[in-house]
Amino acid sequence: DTSGKRIALSNNYAGNSWRQAMLHSWEDVAETAVAAGTVAAADAFTTSENQATEQAAQIQNMILQGYDAIVVNAASPTALNGAVKEACDAGLVVVSFDGIVTEPCAWRIAVDFQEMGRLQVEYLAGRIPDGGKLLEIRGLAGVFVDDEISAGIHKGIEEFPQFEIAGAVHGDWAQDVAQKAVAGLLPSLPDVVGVVTQGGDGYGAAQAFKAAGRDTPLIVLGNRQDEMAWWSEQHADNGYETMSLSIAPGVASLSFWVAQQILDGAEVPKDLSVPFLKVTQDTLDTTLEGTPEGSVATIDYSLDDAKGVIAGAM
């Protein structure tokens, strides 16, 4: 019985549509769970700047506030370890997701970001067997997710040596930053056959190619609604086809249920993994329909989904 338990969400950043969708997903699940009496409270907290130090303080406050569990999307996999350890020592359950933490006492609900990178190259190899030059758009320098996805992409290149990275820019997971960086590189970039990305940057890249008057290469997208709408338009116009993949913001709801299960006494392995959400030409139309304008494709997880994920990891 967890009806007296209180869970908090510690979030480090709210500045993009993915994070907003994530908060939305948390709000939905929290509202129903509290109304149903499953838990006593499920509050969400966001720091003002994307900074590990602030989030560490936030976690310490949650300890003081007497929460029983903290669900955390971490600014850094390591820099919160001190605060997470303190929480564990104080008897709290800590579940991390998306931005996971390495502190052993915490649970991790991870997406295999390396695989996400590798898969992009694999997909390109299927579409363009002859290979060619690629443009890589990276995320925010110095951040774990950026390094992981990029490492996966490079692994993919080793596996499919017909591809070569001709240039790389940092797009900070933002369309406008990506657009600017790509536009600055394009004049000196040879023709590329594909663009590998990290999410939140594909549309910006497409805009930059268009502005430079270049043919649009095969751009792997990141599940943002505007990207998918563009894709759908292009498909209608000229049969453009690509793939889109990203972690679903709804993973917040999964994390909520995992935390609830742990509080309930369930045996849960420390490392869980969720598949990323992949959109193909076949699923594009339905996904697009189910995604609010300007948001990100997502799926919400139920208690049963959580039990399934846990069982799968046993």
Binding site: N11, T53, E54, L64, N81
Partner: protein
């Protein structure tokens, strides 16, 4: 009463902190314990050190926009070199302090605007940090970890550290002869030059001190977080500036207060906690931090203004 606050500038920051602390304890009585106070304030220790570093720069009428990037770099060095090869680590940190002093000398020698040079340096420090730790990681040296988690009798580590930092910098800046001359550089550099002081060296000294406290800040931070990343302390730039001002410092004229700066840093850290105890809607959590900053500074204004009207 107003006179009292005006002549003892330090009173206002002290009172603001006390009021905020009382409100926090009221909302979250659990915080009113050895354990609770430590949790409330331990992450304020590196902020306090960074604020003292910023104060050294503001003291000589400059402003440092690179401090957050610098502390991040120090954190990266601490979690890697200082952990793996302590001798090399110490050498690098010492080198960074010398580099800071060099920047001070450069700024003075060519009469450059500090705001631009430090802006440029923020890219340099940030680039170095990304090169050292492209992905978050590293580990705190064990001695540093135990130092930052030590449990002294009576008062928690965070409070002891804050008192030590405030006391020592007060002696250094407000009481010592050289501290007085350094503040003089901020007050009227021409008169310091005329008195025959080598202002180039003084300026380098002030920046060197800032570098020194920046290094301490980064090390303390890693001791608390156990690991580092290249962006870990970027926020310290603005936090430290706000802390100096909250503590009664002024941007020009060499008017700074060491004790005030430390208290300002504690107040900022506490304000964030206070807000999270209020459980605002996530939409407004960010805005509320702005509101509380305005509130605390407005109190300061009321007293300084009345004082001006009276005199």
């Amino acid at each position: 009463m107003i006179r009292l606050f005006a002549t003892h500038r330090i009173l206002l920051p002290v009172v603001s902190l006390a009021v905020l602390l009382a409100a926090t304890f009221y909302m979250q009585p659990r915080a009113m314990s050895y354990f609770g106070v430590n949790l409330l304030f331990n992450l304020a220790v590196p902020i306090a050190l960074a604020t003292v570093a910023q104060m050294m720069i503001i003291m000589v009428n400059d402003i440092d926009l690179s401090l957050g990037a610098f502390v991040s770099l120090v954190a990266c060095v601490t979690a890697t070199f200082l952990h793996d090869t302590p001798v090399l680590g110490v050498a690098i940190l010492a080198g960074l302090i010398v580099a800071y002093a060099g920047i001070g000398a450069l700024i003075h020698r060519f009469d450059l605007p500090a705001i631009v040079v430090t802006l440029g340096m923020s890219f340099v420090w940030g680039g170095l940090a990304v090169m050292i730790l492209p992905s978050p990681g590293g580990a705190a040296p064990t001695w540093l970890r135990s130092l930052m988690t030590v449990k002294p009798p009576l008062l928690p580590m965070a409070v002891v550290a804050a008192i030590l930092i405030a006391g020592l910098t007060h002696l250094l800046i407000m009481r010592s002869g050289i501290g007085t001359v350094l503040r003089g550089v901020g007050g009227n550099a021409t008169s310091v030059v005329r008195a025959g002081w080598p202002v180039l060296r003084l300026k380098a000294g002030a920046y060197g001190l800032a570098g020194f406290f920046g290094v301490l800040s980064g090390m303390a931070l890693v001791g608390l977080t156990t690991a580092a990343d290249a962006n870990i302390a970027l926020r310290y730039t603005l936090l430290s500036i706000a802390g100096v001002i909250l503590g009664g410092g002024e941007f020009v004229g060499g008017r700074v207060s060491a004790v005030g700066a430390v208290i300002g840093a504690l107040t900022l850290a506490l304000a964030a906690s206070f807000l999270s105890f209020m459980r605002l809607s996530p939409d407004w959590q960010i805005g509320a931090q702005g509101a509380i900053l305005i509130l605390v500074l407005t109190a300061r204004l009321i007293f300084t203004r009345r004082d001006k009207e009276q005199s």
